[in-house]
């Protein structure tokens, strides 16, 4: 029992990170119907940005409280990652609206390849690791043993909840969110009604990247190690989460993320750690084949 609860906790932590990345996929897919293949690598870029900023801040202001340093790193990483994503949309996706259907996906694959190799070039191919940022944990007594809850796990889940609520509020209650939902329904009509479609799409990319940056900083807090190749697999898993939850649906992405996190952790704990990625990829294939609209998604109607 205690082992199971422990794994559940680990799964939820990992799932939070996937959920945050998945929102970027799902929002972009909802609004322009493309799979932003480079999003996983934007996440990887954000981890690097967070890593360097953290090292920079701790070396410049040695005595700074760790909490304050983390908040500064988080905000700065969100801004800088958003800038990357904004630029990528501007350069690689915006000129392709109205091009043939697979063009944005191919362009996104190109961008993904570029990002991976760019980071490898400027930061080297080795893994970068930092000592744990937040130490400590407390134990939770269970019926038949103890469960260790690390403070960083609480931080990750807390941050996820707070930021998800904030973004949920933006999408549901602000004029930007209204514009996004309008573009999602009918881009041409939204434009006719005076919505700046290009700006709305750009902001969607910016929001997705900001959440990916949150995920990136939390990933850094949790694992403390990153390499240039670390965008691909989390990216695919987060995309799986988005598909599983129903692509286009924000709560779906979070649910999907938590599910993928749980499945991955429980699979590694009870079956085989070697095949944990196989499990994730299989879920992706199975969901797409048998349940393409996911848990909360709307069925896709093919228009002629």
């Amino acid at each position: 029992m205690d082992y199971f609860v422990q794994q559940l906790l680990n799964g939820l932590t990992l799932g939070s990170v996937y959920g945050l990345i998945a929102i970027g996929y799902t929002m972009v897919y909802g609004i322009i119907g493309m799979i932003n293949f480079a999003h996983g690598d934007v996440f990887m870029v954000s981890v690097f940005i967070g890593l360097i900023l953290f090292l920079l801040i701790t070396s410049l202001f040695g005595g700074l409280a760790i909490a304050l340093a983390l908040i500064i790193v988080l905000v700065a990483a969100m801004a800088l990652t958003a800038l990357w994503s904004w630029t990528i949309e501007r350069v690689a996706y915006r000129p392709l609206r109205g091009s043939f259907r697979l063009a944005p996906l191919i362009s996104a694959i190109g961008m993904s390849i570029f990002l991976v190799n760019f980071v490898q070039l400027v930061q080297g191919p080795r893994n970068k690791s930092i000592p744990p940022i937040i130490d400590g944990s407390f134990t939770l007594p269970m019926i038949d043993g103890n469960v260790t809850v690390a403070y960083k796990q609480l931080l990750i889940m807390g941050t996820t909840v707070v930021l998800l609520t904030a973004f949920w509020f933006i999408v549901q209650k602000t004029s930007l969110g209204r514009a996004q939902r309008a573009c999602e329904q009918d881009r041409k009509m939204a434009a006719l009604l005076g919505i700046n479609v290009d700006r709305t799409i750009s902001l969607t990319f910016v929001m997705g990247a900001a959440l990916a940056a949150v995920a990136g900083v939390l990933y850094l807090v949790q694992y403390g190690v990153v390499s240039f190749a670390d965008g691909f697999v989390p990216g695919v898993k987060a995309f799986t989460a988005a598909v599983l939850g129903g692509i286009g649906s924000l709560p779906g992405a979070v649910i999907g993320g938590l599910l993928i996190g749980l499945i991955e952790v429980l699979w590694s704990a009870y079956f085989s750690i070697d095949y944990k990625d196989v499990a994730a990829f299989s879920i992706l294939a199975i969901t797409l084949i048998f349940m393409p609209s996911g848990i909360l998604g709307k069925p896709d109607v093919e228009k002629v």
């Binding site: 799979i35 690097f48 940005i49 890593l51 360097i52 090292l55 920079l56 070396s59 800088l80 800038l83 630029t87 350069v91 690689a92 915006r94 000129p95 392709l96 609206r97 109205g98 091009s99 043939f100 697979l102 944005p104 996906l105 191919i106 362009s107 694959i109 190109g110 961008m111 993904s112 390849i113 570029f114 190799n117 760019f118 980071v119 070039l121 400027v122 930061q123 970068k128 690791s129 930092i130 000592p131 881009r187 041409k188 939204a190 434009a191 290009d198 691909f232 695919v236 995309f239 598909v243 070697d274 990625d277 196989v278 990829f281 299989s282 294939a285 797409l288 084949i289 393409p292 896709d300």
Partner: protein, 464 residues
């Protein structure tokens, strides 16, 4: 179209005319470059032996990047109009070159073929027997493998319009079936080759069957997932595949049973020649050339058959196809499995050529390279794919050879790192500027009375 984003062409800037506007715009780009390069380029986090990660500032590099961005953009804003006009004129001249000089695609094809057939002899004549090894092996054979893979994938992506991101899986199936069959059962290469193709086609059907009713981009992701699953299984199923260490000691191809070695039964002794390693390379070169040309020939033939026409129709409009009574699943499945079969053949050759394979050769990046060759070649154009493979694979090899680049960028300069960087950017640039590929003029494979080549821009996806 409403809501269509416009690229910022120099013409757009006329709203803020003159020098000041150009400087402002360039300044914005420099600022953007600074923002993008601030933490990633400005600091190198390198692992110190004892002190953990240490930040090493590189502001000089950032300054260079921003300066280049500023002045390049300024120059483009001020003189871009001329460059752009010159550029399109050059492209126009290039595409009309063929008709003016009377060089048709047919002529180019024959010249290319003759050149290919004489390539190993030319290499020996120009570089000597020692130097030719590299030119035949690294350039000739390596490029031809990718040409063949590109042509195989071209059937799936270019003709049938199915974006396959896991093509390397079939390459892996071919390579591993050859390796396993020859090391455990002692099958010869010539027996393994067709078997590898059959296995790969079988896997193509097996994987294709459930996924082919998915829409384009979902299909792409599922094929990616399958490709990764196969690779992960190859890594983890150590008992059979040898895991990450791979399989070695795969027998080399023989000249219809005569091995290429220095022994008395060897190729050299049998034909009364003095033994040199060149014989095997010559043989491998002509073998892969024949395999690639066979792929091409079959593809060109298939395009004229009803099935080939159905592929192209499917690419253009799936719903129209279905309403005309074309069995879309069967059509897709044939394209998928035939493409997979050629991937399997190439894999068999790859395994036998090196004598060693490991999962490292079958990563997603490999799929991406093959896909980018097909995309750059113009998705559907056979000659375009060949040119793209020569340019991309040969280009990297040439970068490796250029000694002065090492002098320029320091001894740590590794062109392989820049290769993928350039591949990625080229894919983006291709989609933005020439989504119809480098060779954007299409000749119809079926026509009434006379052939009318149409611009690639007139067809919806890929080309006719």
């Amino acid at each position: 179209m409403v809501g269509t984003g416009k690229r910022r062409e120099p013409a757009d800037l006329q709203a803020s005319p003159g020098f000041l506007g150009a400087v402002k715009d360039a300044g914005f780009l420099a600022l953007l470059t600074f923002g993008l390069s601030f933490p990633l380029v400005a600091f190198n986090a390198y692992q110190h032996l004892t002190a953990g990660l240490i930040l090493e500032p590189r502001w000089g590099l950032v300054a260079w990047a921003c300066g280049i961005a500023f002045f390049a953009r300024l120059a483009w804003n001020l003189f871009g109009g001329y460059i752009s006009r010159g550029g399109s004129a050059a492209i126009g001249a290039m595409s009309s070159l063929g008709s003016r000089t009377g060089l048709s695609v047919n002529h180019i094809r024959w010249i290319g073929l003759i050149w290919l057939l004489s390539y190993p002899f030319l290499a020996v004549a120009l570089a000597g027997p020692g130097g030719a090894l590299k030119w035949i092996d690294n350039f000739g054979i390596q490029i031809l493998i990718y040409v063949m893979l590109g042509w195989g994938l071209n059937i799936v992506v270019g003709l049938a319009g199915l974006l396959d991101l896991g093509y390397v899986a079939f390459y892996a199936v071919g390579a591993y079936s050859t390796a396993l069959l020859s090391t455990t059962f002692g099958f010869s290469f010539w027996l393994c080759l067709p078997l590898a193709g059959i296995f790969a086609a079988f896997w193509g059907i097996l994987l294709g069957f459930p996924v082919l009713r998915l829409r384009g981009d979902y299909l792409a992701i599922v094929t990616l997932a399958f490709g990764e699953i196969i690779r992960l299984v190859l890594i983890n199923w150590v008992d059979v595949t040898g895991g990450a260490a791979g399989i070695s000691g795969i027998p080399r191809p023989t000249f219809f049973g005569i091995p290429f070695n220095a022994s008395d039964e060897g190729f050299a002794a049998t034909f009364g020649l003095t033994f040199t390693p060149l014989h095997r390379l010559f043989f491998l070169f002509y073998l892969i050339l024949a395999m690639a040309l066979l792929t091409n020939w079959i593809t060109v033939r298939l395009r004229k058959l009803p099935i080939g026409r159905a592929w192209e129709a499917l690419r253009e409009d799936e719903i129209a196809c279905r309403s005309l009574g074309i069995d879309t699943v069967l059509t897709k499945l044939t394209a998928f499995s035939i493409g997979a079969m050629f991937g399997g053949f190439a894999g068999a050759f790859f395994a036998a050529r090196l004598g060693f394979i490991s999962p490292k050769s079958f990563e997603f990046m490999e799929s991406a390279v093959i896909l980018s060759i097909v995309v750059l070649g113009g998705m559907g154009s056979q000659i375009g794919v060949a040119i793209a493979a020569i340019a991309m694979i040969g280009g990297t090899e040439i970068l490796r050879e250029l000694g002065f680049l090492k002098a320029l960028f320091g001894p740590a300069f590794d062109p392989a790192q820049y290769r993928m960087l350039v591949f990625g950017l080229a894919m983006v640039g291709m989609m933005v500027w020439r989504p119809r590929g480098l060779i954007s003029k299409r000749e119809p494979s079926i026509f009434l009375r006379e052939k009318k080549a149409i611009s690639g821009a007139l067809v919806k996806e890929g080309h006719g």
